[in-house]
Symmetry: C2
Subunit: 167 residues, 2 copies
């Protein structure tokens, strides 16, 4: 959020602003995932990231539907939060030489991304319902459930495989 | 994480690095909360933030215990993720004139902070156990549970009061 956004007067303005924030964030995540796929060594992790890239592209389409349903332009706003999370992910992975330790760090970074998305979608679902937009809430809820499932899947890959090999 | 951190070779290095990341983050959150308390209008929200400030100070003390137990210096590392999340919280709150809408935005921002902490503590608990540091894991688990409880409490304040007044 920031210089590209207009002032916020109502809950509707705040909802649209937050929608544009997560739209920007999803697009940045879609750009970052190929690099994470490239860095991952564990086949399960690599495949998990590939699946999530396809899900992210689908989530962006759902967000475009939400903009259409709500009758506002599809647009992003600057989002320092996701920029910071992705910058940190990139920095820490650049400091690791051991590929097994790198896999563990990649999972931690991806889970930080998932948690950012989960909190934003949780808020957006609540606000959509409050504004009487159950149609938008249903689409946002689908994205939320996918993020929660991805977070759980990453925990399983960490606990069952990656962390054990990294130690 | 970044310019202040050394290179990471082992899971132990990664654990200490992540510990320093959340230590920096908790200290930044403790600095940001008084401003959020000042901006909040709902008495329940103001009180929730005040309680969480006291919890945050206690969490910082627990992190210092973890550093001591693990035999490493208490130190923070640069954390672009929390900087970005707090920058975004500050920017969006500066764009809102209606105090009821501002309360809803403050809750959303605080939940983004909580989710960042939850993902980092979740990772740290897993890594501490992996490294045989059940003593550290127990302290980190206490912080994790407090963050989860705060996140739930914020959702309740939003659903039961703030969102209804904001719309």
């Amino acid at each position: 959020m920031g210089i590209f956004s207009s002032e916020i007067h109502t809950m509707d303005d705040l909802f649209v602003h937050q929608l544009r924030d997560i739209y920007y964030a999803e697009n940045q995540i879609a750009k970052a995932l190929p690099d994470m796929i490239g860095k991952a060594t564990s086949p399960a992790l690599k495949q998990g990231f590939e699946t999530h890239l396809r899900e992210t592209e689908q989530q962006i389409q759902r967000l475009r539907q939400v903009f259409d349903l709500h009758g506002v332009d599809v647009a992003g706003v600057d989002c320092p939060a996701i920029d910071g999370i992705l910058e940190e992910a990139d920095e820490v992975s650049g400091e690791i030489d051991d590929k097994r330790v790198l896999d563990a760090a990649l999972i931690a970074s991806a889970q930080a991304v998932e948690h950012y998305e989960m909190t934003r979608y949780g808020t957006l679902v609540a606000w959509a319902k409050l504004l009487g937009r159950d149609d938008c809430a249903a689409l946002l809820q689908q994205n939320l459930q996918e993020e929660e499932a991805t977070d759980k899947k990453l925990s399983q890959i960490a606990l069952n495989e990656v962390n054990l090999q990294a130690v």
